[in-house]
Symmetry: C2
Subunit: 395 residues, 2 copies
């Protein structure tokens, strides 16, 4: 049984703050500061350039990949860290497209915009008449047909928390000969993922949300073992070369997932992420999932009992990720009022109040207090103000 009292002690949340935005940026792990300080002073400071080997910096993108791989059901040795999620989306998509003659990239309107933008840029670069076909989330399954080259789907919707059925959509895609690219930005560390079990082809994700690696922590990419040695990395950087230190003039892709490496990894960020991942060592993902659903259900019940807010997330926990969203026409202003009271969630245009429930450090007490404060704000304030300009610099 996972000890969530113990994991809660592993994170710093400021006094008086109820942090319901770990789905955007996870909080500081208590151990991260010392880990980074040691990496800087003892490794960079003392080992200098030799740290690449002596301190294992060069191997760390694969080592951290395996730590994350355990949480997402990846085969060992098939996940590597690096770059940002947008870059990894691009690589996965370009690789997938290189395996098929079909031209349609299927995605949905609930996908995070950067995935769509990266696809747009790739299509323009390829100049081969590819089409980005964007359907409503509920129409994805029906839209997977023989014209589809690649499905590019984010499992959990960043605004509503609506969760796709990864197993069913992957099976459907494979049945019609399409390749799957899964974005796990709101899945990794939020719920059990079984990449190997569902037979996913490519997956990508970030490590600064539920994995708590810190702002700008590197992304990860997974390539199924059956594709790993034929995937074309598209962004063919030297650290993805078969022999980076031979300094050959011609590119030869490295073995398996290592070819998805591009340039020099962010070693200071990785030190922070490494400390953050310690919190997962004793976590059973099934325990995490049941607690996550219970916390979300409780929040919905408390908010609906005290307000007339409209739920923007699926009511059925099995259909949700680890977040709950409500609509409010003055959502931005409501969220500012919440933040002023110490309840940090976030606002997503046009009218979404979004709250992440991260069992590693959020419990029932925080859920009840957050719901009560939200209810007070909704009840007492006057919201018939001019439209606020929606600006909030968070992911």
């Amino acid at each position: 049984m996972t000890n969530f009292d113990a994991t809660k002690q592993m994170f710093h949340v400021p006094e008086g703050v109820i942090y319901l935005d770990g789905n955007s940026l996870g909080p500081l792990p208590v151990a991260a500061g010392a880990r980074v300080a040691s990496m800087m002073a003892d490794e960079w400071g003392e080992m200098l350039i030799t740290g690449w080997n002596t301190a294992g910096w060069m191997a760390q993108p694969m080592a951290l990949g395996d730590r994350i791989g355990r949480l997402i059901g990846a085969e060992a040795g098939h996940v590597v860290l690096g770059d940002t999620l947008s870059i990894k989306v691009y690589q996965a998509l370009a690789s997938a497209l290189s395996m098929t003659d079909r031209k349609v990239i299927l995605s949905d309107s609930g996908n995070f915009p950067s995935d769509l933008y990266m696809a747009e840029g790739l299509i323009r670069s390829l100049g081969q008449g590819h089409e980005l076909r964007v359907v409503a989330p509920e129409d994805v399954a029906d839209a997977i047909d023989e014209t589809v080259a690649v499905t590019m789907i984010t499992e959990v919707d960043y605004r509503t928390g609506r969760k796709h059925d990864m197993a069913a959509l992957t099976a459907k895609a494979h049945a019609v000969g399409a390749i799957t690219v899964w974005d796990l930005a709101h899945s990794a560390g939020a719920l059990p993922v079984d990449l190997a079990g569902v037979g996913a082809d490519f997956a990508v994700g970030c490590t600064y949300k539920y994995l708590n690696g810190g702002p700008g922590a590197p992304a990860f990419i997974y390539v199924a073992p059956r594709h790993a040695d034929r995937a074309v990395p598209a962004l063919s950087g030297w650290l993805g070369h078969e022999a980076p230190f031979a300094f050959d003039q011609a590119y030869r892709p490295g073995v398996g997932i290592e070819r998805m490496r591009v340039g020099t990894p962010s070693v200071i960020q990785m030190a922070s992420l490494d400390a953050a991942l310690d919190a997962w060592d004793g976590v059973d993902m099934a325990d995490l999932r049941s607690r996550s659903i219970a916390l979300c259900d409780l929040f919905i019940a408390q908010v609906e009992a005290a307000t007339d807010l409209t739920l923007a997330s699926p009511r059925d926990g099995a259909q949700r990720g680890s977040q709950v969203s409500f609509h409010h026409p003055q959502g931005y202003a409501v969220m500012q009022a919440l933040i002023a009271r110490g309840v940090i969630g976030d606002f997503r245009a046009p009218d979404i109040l979004r709250f992440g429930f991260t069992p590693l450090y959020i419990g029932e007490d925080e859920v009840r207090r957050a719901a009560a404060i939200l209810a007070e704000i909704i009840e007492t304030a006057s919201w018939d103000k001019p439209e606020f300009h929606a600006r909030q610099a968070v992911t």
Copy 2:
């Protein structure tokens, strides 16, 4: 007059080490640990997600871009940080190619392999019959003709330190209608660069070498003002969107250089880099250059007086960057022996001993001691050993 005694105090070099590899990874700035610790504890820890605005994380890639821009002669507001150098090479090259119908990318065999690999990958993606034409460094000027779309040149050769004439090559390129992409990996912080003055089109570079940002510090990209609002970013990520937080489904490139941003920047790495850049505040680049040439000249003179090593770098300081290389058939083993004696340079296949001279923290005393130790090693050891397998995990 630049006070190099003062800058030397701003870096930590371990007792007994003569560090001649700052051209690969700069040493730890004394202030970096506290700056990063504060960013983590006071910003991430206390501000959580609001740090993106409150602590200025979102604006930092542009702010740091301007600090670096001063060192490379860029117009204010035209340099932005992010990603790795390989990614920025790809963006610059893709943008440049989109501005011309010509098909030839001209580079030279002294370029860093990752630049060539990224060009290879881009050409494959484009599938339009582009050609990567690689000539010897000394033939670059003559090879710039009307067939050339883009010159992709690293100003200073990573192995030999040979320095191209950026002004002359840029002028030649423009005279024949070609676009220039300059890689400043071994230039930024190593010597004066005058991007605006020479009329460079695109430039990219890294910040973990002479700029001492730490392992994995972000890269930078410059786009000339005349191109900045029409450059196609190719890797079109959400932070390069005109309005990232509008979460539009369609990509619209941001204003000027901001469009070259892709995903979430590495905030912890930027804190370290920010501290590192403080060392440059009082540095006059002309002073730096004359001191750099004097240190390199002294090293050459001392080594040649005591050994029969063959110089691999140009003898004329004006033709060199801030490093000196010598050939040795057992270069890897010699470098290992040097490192064991506390002199850290590096080895580059097939036979290059490479030594970087970074005036911010290296002086005449270190140069004389390093030359003496190298001479002792060459004189006393027996090098008729079986060929060593050249492996060294450094950039």
